[in-house]
Amino acid sequence: MSARPIKIAVMALGGQGGGVLAEWIVKAGERAGYIAQSTSVPGVAQRTGATIYYVELFPKKAADEKGAAPVLALMPAPGDVDIVIAAEQMEAGRALARGFLSACSTLIASTHRIFAIGEKVAMGDGRQDAAAIEEATSRAAGRRLWFDMERVSEESGAALSAVMFGALAASGATPIPRAAFEETIRAGGRGVDRNLKGFAAGFDAAASGVVEAAPASSSPRSSSVTPSPSVAPLVARVDALPEMVRTMALLGVKKVVDFQDPAYGALYLDRLQRVRQLDQAAGGEARSYRLTKEVAKYLALAMAYDDVIRVADLKTRSSRFARFREDVRAVDGQIVQVWEFMHPRIEEACDLLPAPLSNAIMKSGAAKKIFGAVLGRGRRVPTTSLTGFLLLNTLASMRGLRRAGGRYGREQARIDDWLRRIESVLARDYALACEIAGLQRLIKGYGETHERGLASYGKILAALDLIASAPAPAATLARLKDCALKDEHGAALDAALAKLGVKAAA
């Protein structure tokens, strides 16, 4: 068979430097004695879309011997690509979907994720299954270099394209020597040192057959610090729970104590223990106490609801100050000033007042108007300045008054109602009880988000009798919950409820 070109496809997103990489490959190929051709279809794809850059390298020697120029293709053909470089994990999947991966191809892919808009806008978790891509590409590609090049890029301070270029050099998938790659970067003349560093980092990572570092464990158990006396009894109570529930219960009680105090933690465990007993009576042991585990999780979230005190508390913590410095990449000692975007509404302010008082205010048009004029607009609270910090710190320290507020009473009543409903179906339908427990997932956030979630939650619970008499109650409830997370206007949920026979509210 006569000589054939080396065919290289670069799958990248607009702005990832796919064009730079393709240009480098062309130049490195020319240095190493190849006739190079590359093309792309940039256009609007440059603006965040997915783009394929395609390079063919043909040995110049073969062309000289033949005395003719090769006819090179302008796009990859399915099953006929030697090297696929994917600048993101889903783009490696796209290469497979387009048929570019085969037993003869080498896949060089960065495993980091850049989420597509469709994944980001979901009201719950809309992320696609990256594990499936990892598994499928590993089977489809003849060889695979698979590591987080974005991290290598960040660590080396170089662009992702330099790291990918290094990985290509290390792959040995082309006969181009390392020196030709490096010379190409030097000849480019822009950011040479940084790019060479990134190239070397990519080369080394790929050459050492880099394996993903294990994700840092969220709760390292390096030293042994005993619980403080005030919470030790709570820990003892958690330890008395069935083993499979303990981790979740401990996380839960910790969150609740952090929200309020140990007494609130005790209330959490009282509630949980009751559920655990009923769970056991309903044969929960055989089901690994699934219900207790669900309740342990969602009860904690329900009890540690988001109010003004909680937000002020979280915003003023020393750990949060350390975190935002890290998030904005401040260097040691750099001055960082922070402003919060807050928009207090009368509802949130009233949450703190005793129920009768807050009810009276909410009914009074005048009070609403005055509040709206004075406080009810967006504010930037400067948390790192003294006035801002002291304001928030004062709010945070009102924790002791929380139990007197109207919101507290409302939340506890709702939680008790939720638990009662779980109990009421438990004996009949264990799976349905678990789904009711999971319904708490809908209630989250502040302001409109919170109200919307609460409304969906209410609508579904109101239809509980109808759901219980449906052919598969648990599955029906699960579906309704999914529908509630489909759109902001509740259209999908209303449609699903209507199908079930619920009359639309006037």
């Binding site: 090179l72 891509i133 998030d327 790192t384």
Partner: protein, 716 residues
Amino acid sequence: MAERSFAEEVEDLKLGAGEIFRGEGILAVTKALLQSGVSYVGGYQGAPISHLMDVLSDAQDILASLGVHFEASASEASAAAMLAASVNYPLRGAVTWKSTVGTNVASDALANVSSSGVKGGALIIVGEDYGEGSSIMQERSHAFAMKSQMWLLDPRPNLESIVAMVERGFELSEASNTPVMLELRIRACHVYGSFVAKDNVRPVFGLKDAMEHPERDYSRVVLPPSNFVHEVEKIDKRWPAAVDYVRKHRLNEFLGAATGDVGVIVQGGLYNTLNRALELAGLSDAFGDAKIPIYCLNVTYPLIDDEIKGFCLDKKAVLLVEEGQPEYLEQAVNAILRKGDIQAKVVGKDVLPRAGEYTSGVLLAGVRKFIENHAPALAQKGEPAAPAVDDAAKGVAAIVPARPAGFCTGCPERPVFSAMKLVEKEIGKFHVSCDIGCHLFSILPPFDIGNTTMGYGLGWAGASAFGADAGQRTVAVMGDGGFWHNGLTSGVGNAVFNKSNNVLVIIDNGYSAATGGQDILSSRAANKSKSTNNPIAAAVRGVGVKWVQEVHTYDIGKMKRALKDAMTTTLKGPKVIIAQAECMLNRQRREKPLRDKAIREGKRVVRARYGVDPDTCTGDHSCIRLSGCPSLTIKDNPDPLRDDPVAYVNNDCVGCGVCGENAHAAVLCPSFYRAELVYNPSSLDKAAAGLRAAIISFFQRGADKRRQRYSFGDAA
């Protein structure tokens, strides 16, 4: 200034005879124009030919030294009308645009120049925006060539062929007194390759000569009786002259085997893809030594009847590889063979798809089917007719998310649409007529705003039917690019004249941003060769709009109020909001190096960016649905009790503040924060920060101590 600088590429335009030019296809065309002694070049930017415009724009000095006049035309119509210079004078001229959209706009002038005929060579370089990467309706420029009887070149997609066809194109135009279109597909425009350069040529007869010695010839004017004469002339003189030239100079090529029972007729631009398909079918090699004869049409209009008859005479069947529809070539070849009583079967759209791009995979399947049916002896043993789509690939295709194009990080257009969404919540839904430009991304998620787009600058005209006395007004969107292209007359003037009550939002970001950030009339930057700083508001008021508001886009609250005002005011007449803020891509390109330099030099610099607190973010993603900024993304929820990923601002953030403004305007949640990082702080900065830190950490230590009392140790 354009998004990309072509300072280096401009140097390549100076290459002399024998030197090797290396670069993109569309830049090779630029060089070929100079080698052909062109006197004037015009055009309108747009993928995939923007770089041709950009490089000429950066090459003013070279153009001046060669006596070439270059215009960044106001529209494709302006560009096409430029060709009038070649009607009376022996001046070579070239114009360029994105096709078919640009050809649509240009077609009035094109039809006129085609009727008049040309004395000097007139070349129209069209970037055929078809198939993958295209952003427009899928049509063929071929129809324009046929209807006006201009000749259409479709060269093989390598730089040598493209350059040769530019040079031949001028000669063909002069030999047949007809404008010639040169069609380049997207990939051919961007293909990197090389060719041996020639010296640039300064025209013997220049623009100056024509202006100082004007000539007129009534027979060239498209008015009776000349217009009737022109039609006859096209058939009797120009067509035969073109056929003679094409045949004599062998613009079409006979490639592959000399003889065979079957053969392929292919558009030149598809030749490389065809050869790859033949290679994969075992019928050719990397040098194009195909086992079957190939007739390669570098000229797809007019067809050369004798060449086609000759090629088909001894064949049982020919495969016609013609991309797009209708299948004009297939119909024409069938007619030629039928009239010539030649029995070769023409196989085209029966084995190849009627619509869509002819990719390697598509052509391979078509070639295999053709060979199986008409030359089974040549078929590879045991090969499937089409490459099998793997189950794994199918499964993965369902997972891989779509990546629609969207607004860039920090784009100033995003807050306009956020505001629109917020206004919609207050006053109910309204009809939105869109235009062409970056702002059209509003049609895609997460904004999902907009009903139709009728063409560049036609955003407001697209809503002009809605003149009823209704309870809700319509909103039209137009970019500054579209506004100057024709929107000022087709949209604004039209609305004033017809007493519209509706609303127009003009996005004034200072550039023709979608096509690569070229300057336009209202650009704020100073431009040596162009007149900028002509405000849109003055133009709008000048044609009679009374209600005009200029609003800074990033102020979402103000934008919201302006929109609501425009939608609800009792004032009669058209309302125009000019939403102003510089394109962030261009702004960053200008400001970032300056900022980095200032930091390096030890000057005090404050840089803003935004963040989200993961422990107050509950993973509802309302903020993303209102914004869609690429730097506003998601990550795992650090709280193991919570299910949904939290919002997160990555390090690409440019600190535009739209996410925070949205959180405010929409009353979302308190998770967003604005951070200001101080570089090279003054001693006052340091003292104040030290004092603040001391007091804050005093309180924080107290709170830490309290939490310590409730510590679970490492039990959790």
